[in-house]
Amino acid sequence: MSLMPDPTFYPSPGMAMQAPPERLAYVSLLNVGSNGQRDAMGVIDLDPSSSEYGRLVGQVDFPRGDNELHHFGWNACSACLCPQSAHPHMERRYLIVPGIGSSRIHILDTKPNPKQPKIVKVIEPEEFIRKTGYTSPHTIHCGPDGVYGSALGSASGDGPGGIFLMDANTFELKGQWEQDRGPQQLAYDFWWHLGHDTMVTSEWGTPNMVKNGLNPELLLGGKYGHKMHIFDLDKRRHVQELELGAEQQMVLELRPAHDPKKTYGFVGVVISLKDLSSSIWMWYRENAGKNGKWAARKVIEIPAEPAEPEKLPPLLQGFKAVPPLVSDINLSLDDRFLYVSCWGTGEFIQYDVSDPANPKKTGSIHVGGIVRRAAHPSKPKQSLNGGPQMVELSRDGKRVYFTNSLYSPWDEQFYPDGVKSWMVKIDAHPNGGINLDKQFFVEFDGLRAHQVRLEGGDASSDSYCYSDGK
């Protein structure tokens, strides 16, 4: 416990945008196959004045290599300043790293040496399953009253998946979060509108539906997730189900507006069975009234691109097209720019979402891609595979980082030649427009880079209880 609030906590998103630039990134590194390597957390130097800018400057190896590390998060964040249960003297110090492959959770301490974090606790799968009843922990968010996590499935690897709680001080698992999950069975991502006591969750598939990769039979049958769920965050009860349509397969990353006053957000859908397009949907409160129901509508559609079958992996040859496969999205802290990763086509797109119902495309670059294999400007002759995937954005909205590995069973299906992993950085202009930083191109040897977290917080690590009132 500290005497003053953690300097990385900010009451409002607008204040967080004034934060100093990040100097380090934490990147989860997945081991693939039985090559003797273990999973790891990598540390990348982001300080442009450093001689090691854009290089891997630290790495902590995990005890095993079967974790399939996914969306890790901090033990504490700006939500600790929330007025209803304020505890601002926590430290943003520990990374909570869930593995969907192993159901193991690693806790890393970044304080003694930020460039070389230490593993201080490992929650083994037996304990995770015993205490939560879930398997495959996926996303971690720090909340006003502790750490929340999502998990893909039940102990048997089927549904329901859901949300679990963890004590932010002791990292003890507190069990399942839901009092009443209603019709919700599938799980993936979650986040909230703290000012409206509302949790939002999305749907991918159960561990048994995803562990062997994308199952064409399940996909064509519309069996993967195609809904969102609204919960009362305080009462932990299911309130409403938002059906996007059975053809909208795999509803993944949720990005609610950061301003706690607003009642809308964006969610990405990986693929439409109609035309292989990807889409971004906006959820919002109807009638803006207190008793208004929630609704969702498609605000962006990204079409598939025609392709010669011989350039496509077996899974896609019959379609003669490469789907965009939107796998991750991120929203700037001023709720103005939405970033969209198209892992299939290799495109990375910036939209101005000042008017959330009418996004405007303001920037686009290409790196990798199933067909395009676009190079990075620092090595123009080297064709790259994988595509824009996990995207993270600095608090001031000026720097964007992304990696190219998605999920190892999918990596094999869509990039059968084996994803060679990299991380790039993009400079975002204040009024729209993006370009690749030619000086920043990290290549990983053997391990595959996934989620990125930035030192001190980023655009998807913190939640705020005070509105800037814009």
């Binding site: 304020a86 001080n169 409206h196 006591d197």
Partner: protein, 215 residues
Amino acid sequence: MTHAGLTSTMVGLLLLLGAYHGINPGMGWLFAVALGMQEQKGSAVARALVPIALGHALAIGTVVLAAALLGTALPRDVIRYAVAALLVGLGIHCLVGHWHPRWVRMQVGFRDLTVWSFLMASAHGAGLMVLPVLLGSSTVEAAVAGHHHIAATVSPLAGILATLVHTTAYLAVIGLLAWIIYRKVGLSLLRKTWFNFNLVWGAALVATGLFTLLL
């Protein structure tokens, strides 16, 4: 000079304690500011102050009246030692523990805010902290009257008056702070000035507990 058993020293101490409870951001004014920012209305700040003060008054009043009732059945020294032990225990808990009441809801009406404020004040021993002042007052009363053996611990009327005096100061301070922060200063100040109240609070509880033993 006394009014229903409250000397001017006691009134002064009660006002100071009320102000002290009011300063703590976790005990009221910050929630009022957040609600104002959420609705973008200064009136929302003002509206929140009333139930927050009411909840605080209920927390103080409950403890004070409970002590008054117990005082009719138990010797004053027993009450005094019990209060001292509770204060020291709670203080140590504040100093070493990291527990605080669990509350997630931000959309709160009059009743919710009253309950919230009651819980926050109770959990932090706000009422217990006020008790020694009243126990002290009865000592003075008894000494003046020369009736040590029959002195009541706390009279219910004195308890109610003490609660009102305390809450007036509390309300004045949370109102002033909420208004300054909401209208003038903004929340960025909070990041640099919000020292760890739990530690100060814990120390204050322990000190008050020890003081109670000296009464």
